[in-house]
């Protein structure tokens, strides 16, 4: 792997120049910007003893659960629990904002639940939290997102006491 930005250097190299500005112009006020870096939290246990959770904006949810509202103009500020022992055919995607043709063949390209299960079986990681956590990324009010959905997910994640959290956009 190659380190492409230096957190001590102040100015981070833009990986995709102009993308943030383009989105912010199209959806004014929708983009979250942080001014300060979050302090690192040191892992408490080695990877092969660590309980891992997964948080995703992929809009993946168990079949039969209330679908995300993918057409609401300001977004859906709820999340779904996805049992970490689920099979991929027990899950479905409710999300309109990203291409799903790969995920329709193999859900692991965006929600790698089988790969994480396999890493536990191989004793590479210690275990998984009972649930993973999923929501949709189309939320146009960042203050509401932080005040409600982010706090709700953080509480739900902490209740399951993970050692490590893998988080992915979609």
């Amino acid at each position: 792997m190659t380190v492409v930005s230096d957190p001590n250097g102040g100015e981070l190299r833009q990986l995709r120049p102009g993308l943030w500005d383009t989105v912010n112009e199209r959806y004014p006020g929708s983009m979250i910007t942080r001014d300060e870096l979050v302090p690192l939290a040191a892992p408490r246990v080695p990877l092969n003893e660590a309980r891992v959770t997964f948080v995703s904006t992929a809009g993946v949810q168990p079949r039969g659960t209330l679908p995300f509202d993918t057409v609401h103009p300001v977004g859906d500020y709820t999340f779904r629990r996805v049992p970490s022992g689920s099979r991929t055919d027990e899950l479905e995607i409710h999300q309109l904002k990203y291409p799903t043709f790969g995920a329709e063949k193999d859900l692991n390209v965006i929600f790698p639940i089988e790969r994480l299960q396999e890493l536990v079986a191989e004793n590479v990681i210690g275990g998984l939290t009972p649930d993973f956590f999923s929501f949709i990324g189309y939320n146009m009010d960042p203050e509401r997102l932080e005040r409600t959905l982010a706090e709700d997910i953080a509480d739900a994640v902490c209740e399951q006491r993970p050692d490590l959290a893998l988080m992915s956009p979609a």
Binding site: L37, G102, N108, I110, L119
Partner: protein, 75 residues
């Protein structure tokens, strides 16, 4: 966007939206992305670390084609 949000650690992949863990059925690539991300949790010494995996979207797709990874389906 990652740089604007400033997560403490991040792995960046130049892949198509909706395919952040690679291409369908390419288990080795999917494992590698997960493990590289988890490894960064242990190796990062400064908050704001962003690492780029040295594989392009075209390379990932070509690998899958070469391996014949096109037939399986969810369920």
């Amino acid at each position: 966007m990652t740089e604007r949000i400033k997560p403490p650690r991040a792995v960046f992949l130049p892949f198509m939206m909706g395919h952040h863990f690679g291409v369908p059925f390419h288990r080795e690539l999917q494992w590698r992305i997960i493990l590289d991300a988890l490894a960064l949790i242990y190796s990062a010494t400064e908050s704001g670390s962003v690492q780029k995996l040295p594989i392009s979207w075209a390379q990932a797709r070509n690998q899958a084609k070469a391996l014949g990874l096109t037939e399986e389906r969810n369920g």
